[in-house]
Symmetry: C2
Subunit: 344 residues, 2 copies
């Protein structure tokens, strides 16, 4: 089969790889319908150690079940399934609590020995706990929206939920990537009326406005903080979402949060230590968020995707055949594409 591997910085290749097979009785093997490139894929794209064997890439996909292990009971060959970016057993206490990212059995398997999602086929461990069956055809036109439930929409929703977005709460979203834009959509969906999007890429911030952003602030750093404070009567916002992950973005988030407010992080931190001293303590700032247990959110988010109430799939502004995955990475790295969908 064809599969995408990263061999070193900037070195993405789609190569021939062995087709996956059932290895455990709880596995399923899927044929990929749609996959995509994630903003977080760009971190190894920049910094991966060169490697002869490469690293299988991709963690977002919708697929169709080809084969199941002897113990799999909830999906069957032919089913269309959403694949959350973290595998989960579905049975342990963390899974039952909705924190599948801390599953005791499957753990945080990104990247994974199960192969990447940017490939024609993929083995999924713990198929019963991981996969979410959707009653659609393999060529359903809502496939882009369904694909966002694999990661980006659930991640934006996680930020809005943990941050406490709600009616009457001002929200700031730092970052105009796909997660940031879907955090805007999620905050609006949860009832926030005032949503300020911090980003400078106009095509993206335009989509942000369509998703519910009431204001866009292009300035960054101190100027950005000042602009948001001006928009919020000097106070900052109750809910601030960091959808970037770099330290300056987090500092910006802290700069625009209201006393007693919350900063929810969903951009993977590219730092170890950060400012959480007396300034944050004196203002009773809460820092929350984390890697999103998207599996927990599909029940809630799927109906809107199916009935068209929301259009998270609009974050995909480019579609490429799987064999052009390297182009997809380059387009996203150059910010020439917001998010690239791949079809095998």
């Amino acid at each position: 089969m064809r599969a995408t591997y990263l061999f070193g910085p900037g070195d993405v290749r789609v190569i021939d790889a062995p087709e996956p097979r059932i290895e455990q009785p709880t596995d399923a093997v899927l044929r990929t319908l749609v996959a995509c490139v994630c903003g977080s894929d760009l971190h190894p794209y920049h910094s991966a150690q060169p490697s002869e064997h490469g690293r299988a890439m991709g963690h977002e996909m919708v697929g169709v079940v080809e084969e199941i292990g002897a113990e799999v009971t909830t999906v069957a060959p032919g089913d269309v399934v959403i694949v959350p970016f973290v595998f989960s057993c579905g049975v342990c206490d963390f899974c039952r609590e909705g924190l599948q990212t801390s599953c005791r059995v499957a753990g945080l398997t990104v990247p994974t020995g199960a192969g990447g999602a940017q490939a024609q086929y993929r083995r999924i461990p713990f198929a019963d706990g991981t996969l979410y069956r959707v009653d659609v055809a393999v060529d359903d036109e809502r496939m882009p929206g369904l694909l966002t439930l694999s990661d980006v929409y659930g991640t934006g929703h996680h930020a809005a939920v943990t941050g406490g977005a709600a009616p009457g709460k001002d929200v700031v979203v730092v970052g105009d990537g796909a997660v940031g834009l879907l955090a805007v959509l999620s905050a609006r969906r949860l009832g926030a009326e005032r949503i300020i999007l911090m980003g400078r890429h106009e095509a993206r911030t335009d989509l942000g406005r369509r998703y519910g952003a009431t204001d866009v602030v292009a300035a960054r750093g101190d100027a950005g903080v000042e602009a948001v404070r001006d928009l919020t009567g000097g106070d900052g916002a109750h809910v601030v979402i960091d959808a970037v992950g770099h330290l300056p973005a987090f500092e910006q988030a802290l700069g625009v949060v209201r006393a007693g407010g919350t900063v929810a992080r969903v951009g993977v931190p590219q730092y170890s230590d950060g400012p959480i001293g007396r300034e944050q303590f004196g203002r009773n700032v809460t820092i929350t968020g984390g890697v999103a247990p998207v599996r927990a959110y599909i029940d809630d988010l799927l109906p809107g995707v199916l009935d068209g109430t929301v259009d998270p799939g609009a974050v995909f502004d480019r579609e490429l055949p799987l064999d052009d995955a390297a182009t997809g990475y380059r387009l996203m790295d150059d910010r020439a594409a917001l998010k690239v969908m791949l079809r095998p």
Copy 2:
């Protein structure tokens, strides 16, 4: 009048100072009934710049109203009042939301130009918004309990509330000072059944057990983390309260928090940056707490103090006349006293 001043490291003196007078129509002047030394007073006690004029000390007190300004309407001469350690106007949006520590008008006035609480008299700005009238006599025997509502009990309660202590939630309290012990009491009061107190001073941890601690861990650092993890099936606790404020205590708190759990800080951070990178992100750890808006909690906490359901006043293990304040500081600094009450 007699008043306590700090002139430099370890240099506490009770001196003659001018009696305060009404300066603003919203002021009240109180005669101090009881005051005390706070763990946070020990930070300047260690590190204050030597100064000729000194710094008025103390921010916890119960007093009796001597005189009020022309615009004060909610208290009258002769009333016994609890003085929250932060003054607040009572009218602005932050005060109405219960975040009086971010009051737009009075601000965080510790230490304050209004004079310290470790004195015979004290001027209180924004008397209507700040003071809490209690219907007791000036010699009421519950005075120690009432005094804790000025800071330490409300601060321990803030930790338990923001941390999410509740039935079914395991709680760890790092620190066996008065705030830590009252965080234990508060967590128990909010329904937590399993409460692990990390502290090594046996008289204190014994009081912690009386307040509801089910386990005491004397070990610190990695050994302490391991001991708590052993007690919690390897996972750590849902709610962890940092009642210390030094970086090792915060690191210990992060080490014993369960994935998806919360660290609530009420010890004033003695650090600027702390570990909030991928480890905390991957485990969805929330960091919350801050300087406690104790004024907001008195309605809720006072009845239990008055009817004896709880005994927060037991944290005062020494009582001294005001003139012996320097001895009180030394006893607390040597950990020979848990918390020293001063009576003018």
